[in-house]
């Protein structure tokens, strides 16, 4: 992200802290797309991702007055999104039936046409990604889809860059294995 956009965010947060809803609207428009993409690939379900992003933006608004520009808005917003998404994952794990829902996503119908359709729509890669441990999946989402640098992704996960690389290697190896299994 360019420095000009970072400055735009800082100015928007300052105004939002004073109750300027139009400045806040600018933040929402600039950051919604990548935020939804990030959370959707962590949670696997679009509606849940939109709920989380909505909550995150409202928390930004609630806390805008206290925000200090000692980090990029985008970095700070990533932290909010990630922690809310992790909370959502924990809530899901406590709900009975979650595993079954996940398994349904993995299931392959015998009908080759349906199987082809499922592949075409990316259901199998989605299921494979969701089957990874949460931190491996997050590392992969941050580096592959979100395009964060190793330094940025490692900071968000609170690990060093060597540990990030290890998470990525295991994530890709796990993904390759699962995709191969699904297609047997």
């Amino acid at each position: 992200m360019s420095e000009a956009l970072d400055e735009l965010d800082v100015a928007a947060m300052a105004k939002a802290g004073q109750g300027d809803a139009s400045a806040f609207a600018g933040l929402v428009h600039r950051h919604s797309a990548w935020a939804v993409g990030f959370v959707e690939r962590l949670l696997g379900i679009r509606a849940d991702a939109e709920d989380v992003v909505q909550q995150a933006f409202l928390r930004v608004w609630q806390n805008a007055e206290d925000w200090q520009p000692n980090a990029k808005f985008r970095t700070w917003f990533y932290q909010i999104l990630y922690r809310l998404a992790v909370d959502q994952i924990r809530v899901r794990r406590r709900q009975p039936g979650f595993e079954e829902l996940d398994e349904q996503a993995h299931a392959h119908p015998d009908d080759p046409a349906s199987h082809w359709q499922q592949q075409r729509q990316g259901a199998d890669i989605r299921a494979a990604l969701m089957s990874l441990p949460e931190r491996q999946r997050t590392a992969l989402v941050l580096c592959h889809y979100q395009g964060l640098s190793q330094k940025e992704a490692a900071a968000l996960l609170a690990v060093n860059e060597g540990a990030l690389e290890s998470l990525l290697s295991r994530a890709r190896a796990g993904l390759r294995q699962r995709l191969t299994e699904y297609r047997r």
């Binding site: 939804v36 928390r59 609630q62 806390n63 206290d66 909010i80 889809y145 690389e165 993904l175």
Partner: protein, 154 residues
């Protein structure tokens, strides 16, 4: 044993390919040179093709940008004064509504049993719209400390 193993950088090339895939732009900047060094060699090309296959698989999970209504939903929920709001996900909103309705009915029932008939108006003011319940609904549940540290797990 690989024919490349003794060559400087080969092992690191393989590690980067395994972790970051076949797109050098995703590699650590200092190691992108390794990609150029080995690309084109048959053994390296086989590994690159495998990594490229996985990259392509990952790219089959699209996430379209939300439509304009998504931003409007967020903006409709904020208050111009910056006052805090308790956010309720859409799918659980009905449950909250049922809970609130049950609380109101319970409160009304208890008050009806305990209060003399002449005190009914005060009962409504105190139980349903008193300052303590309003404050609890509007309290922020996500306080920020100095330096923007966040703890949403608590």
């Amino acid at each position: 044993m690989s024919e490349h193993e003794p060559r400087p950088g080969w092992q690191r090339f393989c590690q980067c390919l395994e972790a970051y895939g076949a797109e050098p732009a995703r590699w650590p900047e200092a190691e992108r040179e390794l990609f150029e060094r080995f690309a084109g060699e048959p053994e390296a090309e086989a590994l690159i093709a495998e990594a490229r296959w996985l990259d392509a698989e990952l790219d089959r999970f699209p996430s379209p940008a939300p439509d304009a209504a998504f931003a409007e939903t967020i903006l409709a929920r904020i208050r111009p004064t910056g006052a805090s709001i308790h956010v309720v996900p859409g799918r659980r909103r009905w449950a909250l509504g049922m809970g609130l309705a049950a609380s109101v009915l319970l409160g009304f029932g208890l008050g009806w049993r305990q209060a003399p008939m002449t005190e009914v108006p005060d009962l409504f003011g105190g139980l349903l719209f008193g300052p303590s319940s309003a404050e609890s609904v509007l309290q922020p549940d996500f306080p920020l400390e100095a330096g923007n540290s966040l703890d949403v797990s608590s």
